[in-house]
Symmetry: C2
Subunit: 219 residues, 2 copies
């Protein structure tokens, strides 16, 4: 360990710390975890918050099904094209209980990396199970996890049904569909609860920004 | 689609583009993919580059075994504590050919997200197989993948052996060890080849910075 070229020694001397990154960005990284039924507006609100943060000069990023399910957490079918059926099935993630759990675990791990890199990381996944969300919370430094419950009733979500998923779930074409054939466990101590039955996405996004300012996450 | 509150419409109007992020940061995101034998200095050089970029005001981040193998790509043993043996074995990644391939695939997917978020993303993995690295390259927008071959001889790497892995591999305690019992396929068209037999990590890091400036990735 006395050799100045020793990789381990050099690493520790030179690493960029979270404090360094916070100084460069003028804010710290954190994870804003949106949770709620399909169609409640998570992705819409997260993207509006992303835009509003951008306009304030805050570095942020949205993780949602669009950019995760086609890459990192691809389905068994997608990965079978790359590997073979056996390994596609092993590495790919479907929609069983364990697969959804692993989906959220991986998203949590990536959100943790983005947070460590200094970004205000906005995640938009149904993430219906309390234990899974609590595991992500526990994996992050205290105070870095910001749980936002986008609270819209099943009736409101089903009437919107932007992707036609409720219709398919009611017809029995989608198994384990949250709210229909699989439970949603609302947060018990969310940092923020958004009334998505009555307020517009714009208004909800403003409430998130306000909360981030109040809690000192951004200026 | 005519309702202004429609989630899909709002999303497309409001999303922050890569150009937007590049304008805020004064540089675009890209992936600088370090590859080479264990002990060649990938992680050391990547962390030095990270530090040098930070000092230039460039947003960057290092992905390496330290922050990926304990979270996103945890081993079967680590995940068996969380799930059970069956699902730990399914979701965890060991060191077989397919598991290493999937390890690199996931790292490539995460690097792609960090790149999309605007960061100069530095990855430090042995990544011995050409096909795996080429898959990551193909998954990114043209020109965003920057392959850096950290070229040190097996003799040099084995004499350093910072983690004692070569000793274990020679003793037969580690299977599929690159350079000993598993091949390393050097890049055929790397954007940069670093002579890690003769130059110091400092000098190699400076060459990476120089290349990033020459190719217009940073200023």
């Amino acid at each position: 360990m006395s050799n100045p070229n020793d990789p381990i020694v050099v690493w520790h001397q030179q690493a960029v710390s979270r404090d360094d990154r916070a100084q460069l960005n003028n804010h710290r990284g954190c994870v804003v975890w949106f949770t709620g039924l399909s169609g409640c507006g998570k992705s819409t609100v997260a993207n509006l918050v992303d835009r509003k943060l951008y306009e304030r000069g805050v570095r942020s990023y949205v993780l949602d099904g669009d950019n995760v399910r086609h890459g990192l957490n691809a389905t068994p079918q997608m990965l079978a094209e790359r590997y073979d059926e056996q390994f596609g099935a092993r590495f790919g993630l479907g929609f069983s209980q364990q697969d959804r759990e692993e989906n959220i675990r991986r998203v949590g791990a990536v959100a943790g990396l983005l947070c460590d890199a200094g970004l205000v990381t906005l995640t938009a996944f149904v993430s219906p199970f309390r234990a899974d969300r609590d595991s992500v919370r526990a994996s992050l430094p205290a105070g870095d996890f910001f749980e936002v419950f986008v609270d819209a009733s099943l009736e409101v979500c089903e009437s919107r049904d932007p992707k036609g998923l409720y219709k398919k779930a009611r017809a029995g074409e989608i198994a384990h569909f949250t709210g229909i054939s699989s439970p949603y466990e609302p947060p018990e101590q969310a940092e923020l609860v958004l009334d998505a039955n009555d307020l517009s996405p714009e208004e909800l996004a403003d409430l998130v920004i306000q909360k981030l300012i109040e809690t000192g996450k951004i200026r």
